[in-house]
C-alpha cells in the first residue's frame, strides 16, 4: 500500500491564500505581514507534511483525554452581575455591548 500523503500535492501558500485565511480569522494584515506569513506558513506546512510518513489506517483520532469527564448538575448558580459582566466592555451601552453597524439599511421603494 502507498504511504498516506497529506495532499495530492502540497497546497500552494501564496498571498491570495494567506489573505483568504486571514479573512476567515478576522485579521486585517498589512502587506509586509502577508509577505512574511507566506514564507513562514509555507515552511511550517512543509515540515508538517512529515505526518504523511505515518500509516494511520485504522487508527482513531484522539478526541479527548478525559474519558471520565463529569459534568456538574444543571442547576442555577450565582454568576456575574450585569455590572460586572459589562465592567470590561470597551463600549457598553444601555446595559449591553455596543458594536458598529453590520447590516445595511433596507433600500426603500425597491
Amino acid at each position: 500500500m502507498l504511504p498516506w500523503r497529506p495532499m495530492a500535492e502540497r497546497p500552494k501558500i501564496d498571498r491570495a491564500r494567506v489573505e483568504h485565511v486571514a479573512r476567515l480569522a478576522s485579521l486585517s494584515l498589512d502587506a509586509p505581514e502577508v509577505d512574511a506569513m507566506v514564507a513562514e506558513l509555507g515552511r511550517i506546512l512543509e515540515y508538517v507534511e512529515k505526518l504523511g510518513e505515518v500509516d494511520t489506517d485504522d487508527v482513531p483520532p484522539m478526541t479527548g483525554l478525559s474519558a471520565g469527564t463529569t459534568l456538574r448538575p444543571d442547576e442555577v448558580q450565582p454568576g456575574l452581575s450585569q455590572a460586572e459582566a459589562l465592567g470590561q466592555a470597551p463600549r457598553p451601552s444601555s446595559g449591553g455591548f455596543a458594536v458598529p453597524r453590520f447590516l445595511d439599511a433596507p433600500k426603500t421603494g425597491r
Binding site: W4, P6, M7, P11, R17, V18, V21, A22, L24, A25, S26, L27, S28, L29, D30, E33, A36, M37, E40, L41, R43, I44, L45, Y47, V48, E49, K50, L51, G52, E53, V54, T56, V59, P60, P61, M62, T63, G64, L65, S66, G68, T69, T70, L71, R72, L80, E84, A85, G87, Q88, A89, P90, R91, F97, V99, P100, R101, F102
Partner: protein, 485 residues
C-alpha cells in the same frame, strides 16, 4: 531574619510564629525591588494587596484560627491566570488593561490556603512561545546569564523562583511551558496530568493540552503546592474526580526496584553533549539507588512536533476568536463590525500569535481538515499508545527536558520552526496528557543549568515526585543559586 526561603521553611516559620507573614511579604517586596529591574519576571505586582493578605494571615494566627497549608507562603502567578481585580494581560496588548471579574480556581485555592500572591509574571503572548520573548511587554531574562532566555512560555514564573524573589509560582504547560523554563533556570517544574488541576480561569490557548502546575526550588515544595491546587472542580468538566495522592509523602519514598525507561529517541541528534552527559550521570545515580534501567522505544516521537503544531494552533485559532473588541479588551473602532474585528485583532495580537491563528485557521479550513487536523489527531493517538506500551514495562520514563541549555535572547526569534523544534522532548507527554516533572541535575561548563525530565502515567504525580526527590538528593545542582542583585 528570614528562615530558608522555601515553601516548607516559610510555612513552618509562619505557623510557629518565628516570622510574621508581613515580614515575609516585606522581604518579597524588597527582593523584587532589588532583583527584578534587570530580570523582568513580573508584569504586574500586587502592591498593597500583598501586605493586606499578609496582615490577614497574621491576624488569623493571633486569633487562634487554624492556618491554611500555605499560610504566609508567596506564590507568583503566570499572567494567564485570572485574578479578580488584578490586571491579567496574558502577555498581550489586546488584554493590556483587562481586570478579570473573577479568580481562576487555582487562585481561589491558593487564597483559601492562606498563600500570599505577590503578582503576575511575564510570559510569551497567550503562552505561545518557548522563550518569553514573544510577550508584548518585553522579554524576561535568565538569572544565570542575562543575555539568555529563561525559556518559556512561563519564563517569568521560572525567573521569579530561580532568582529567589518568591519560593514558588504557578505556570501553565501546553507543550513544555513549565518544564522547559524550569530546566533552563535550574529549578523544579511540574506539569501534572491533564485533568489533575482545574483550568477554570486560565486564559485558554489549546484546551486539550493546557495544564496548570507549580514551580519551586525543590521537589518537596512543588509537591506542597500541587496538593493545594490539585483536584476536581465542577467548573472545569475536563478536571477529573480522581483521588489525590499524598504528594508530600511521595517525596520521601524509596526508588529501590523502580523500573526506569530510557527512550533512544530522546538521545538522538540535536542533543547537546553536555546535556546528554549530565542526564546519563543522573540515570547512573538512580541505578546506584536501586532503580532498574530499561532501554525502550517511543517510535512516534519524531512526529510529535508536527502533530502538536497542527492541534495546538487549531485549538488556539478557535479559542482566540473571543478577542473581538466587544466584551473586554482592546477595541479599534471602525465604521463596520467586520472591519472593527479585523483592526482590533491586527492591533492587539503580536506576530507569533497571528502566525499561529493563521496556521490553525488554515488546518481547520474547508478541504484541509482531514489532511491536517484529523491526521494530526490520529498520530496523537499513536504517540499516546507509545507511552501506554512503555508504561506496561516501566514505572517512569526519563530524558533530558530540553535538548540544549538556555539559548541567547534573539537567537531563535527569526526562525519559528527552530523555536518549535526546541520543544521536541516535552511535546509528546503533553499530547498524551501524562505527568512531566523537570528537576535540575547539573550545570554546564559555562554555568548554565541542565534539566532532567521524569514522565509518569496519568495521575501518577506521586511517582514522578518520588523519583525527582531521589534525583535531587544526589544532584550536584541541588542548592545552586544564581548571583542576583
Amino acid at each position: 531574619m528570614l528562615p530558608s526561603f522555601t515553601v516548607e521553611g516559610l510555612a513552618e516559620s509562619v505557623r510557629s510564629g518565628n516570622v510574621t507573614a508581613v515580614e515575609v511579604a516585606e522581604a518579597v517586596i524588597a527582593r523584587i525591588d532589588a532583583r527584578d529591574p534587570t530580570l523582568h519576571s513580573f508584569l504586574t505586582r500586587a502592591g498593597d494587596a500583598l501586605l493586606d493578605q499578609a496582615r490577614a494571615v497574621d491576624d488569623k494566627r493571633a486569633r487562634g484560627i487554624p492556618l491554611g497549608p500555605l499560610a504566609g507562603v508567596p506564590v507568583a502567578l503566570k499572567d494567564a491566570l485570572s485574578t479578580r481585580g488584578l490586571r491579567t494581560t496574558c502577555g498581550s496588548n489586546i488584554l493590556e488593561h483587562y481586570l478579570p471579574p473573577y479568580d481562576a480556581t487555582v487562585v481561589t485555592r491558593l487564597r483559601e490556603a492562606d498563600a500570599l500572591l505577590p503578582g503576575k509574571t511575564n510570559m510569551d503572548e497567550f503562552a505561545m512561545g518557548s522563550s518569553t520573548e514573544h510577550g508584548a511587554f518585553g522579554p524576561a531574562r535568565n538569572p544565570w546569564d542575562r543575555a539568555r532566555s529563561p525559556g518559556g512560555s512561563s519564563g517569568g514564573s521560572a525567573v521569579a523562583v530561580a532568582a529567589r524573589m518568591t519560593p514558588a509560582a504557578l505556570g501553565s504547560d501546553t507543550g513544555g511551558s513549565i518544564r522547559q523554563p524550569a530546566a533552563l533556570t535550574g529549578i523544579v517544574g511540574l506539569k501534572p496530568t491533564y485533568g489533575r488541576v482545574s483550568r477554570y480561569g486560565l486564559v485558554a490557548f489549546a484546551s486539550s493540552l493546557d495544564q496548570i502546575g507549580p514551580f519551586a526550588t525543590n521537589v518537596r515544595d512543588a509537591a506542597r503546592v500541587l496538593s493545594v491546587i490539585a483536584g476536581h472542580d465542577p467548573r472545569d468538566a475536563t478536571s477529573r474526580d480522581e483521588p489525590l495522592r499524598d504528594y508530600a509523602a511521595a517525596c520521601g519514598a524509596s526508588v529501590r526496584g523502580l523500573k526506569i525507561g530510557v527512550p533512544d529517541e530522546y538521545f538522538s541528534s540535536g542533543l547537546d553533549p553536555e546535556v546528554e552527559a549530565s542526564v546519563r550521570d543522573a540515570i547512573g545515580r538512580l541505578v546506584a539507588d536501586g532503580c532498574v534501567v530499561k532501554k525502550l522505544a517511543l517510535p512516534h516521537t519524531a512526529y510529535a512536533v508536527a502533530s502538536y503544531y497542527v492541534i495546538a494552533t487549531a485549538e488556539a485559532s478557535s479559542n482566540l476568536a473571543r478577542f473581538d473588541g466587544v466584551r473586554y479588551g482592546l477595541r479599534v473602532d471602525a465604521a463596520r463590525l467586520g472591519e472593527m474585528y479585523g483592526r482590533t485583532r491586527d492591533a492587539g495580537f503580536g506576530a507569533e500569535v497571528k502566525r499561529r491563528i493563521l496556521l490553525g485557521t488554515f488546518v481547520l479550513s474547508a478541504g484541509y481538515y482531514d489532511a491536517y487536523y484529523l491526521k494530526a489527531q490520529k498520530v496523537r493517538t499513536l504517540i499516546a499508545k507509545d507511552f501506554d506500551a512503555a508504561f506496561a514495562e516501566v514505572d517512569a520514563i526519563v530524558s533530558p527536558t530540553s535538548p540544549t541549555p538556555a539559548f541567547l535572547l534573539g537567537e531563535k526569534t527569526g526562525d519559528p520552526l527552530a523555536m518549535y523544534l526546541n520543544d521536541v522532548y516535552t511535546l509528546p507527554a503533553s499530547l498524551a496528557g501524562i505527568v512531566g516533572l523537570s528537576v535540575p541535575v547539573a550545570a554546564t561548563k559555562s554555568g548554565l543549568p541542565v534539566g532532567f525530565q521524569i514522565s509518569t502515567p496519568h495521575f501518577r504525580e506521586d511517582l514522578a515526585l518520588t523519583i525527582g526527590a531521589a534525583v535531587e538528593a544526589t544532584s550536584p545542582a541541588t542548592g545552586a543559586e544564581p548571583k542576583v542583585g
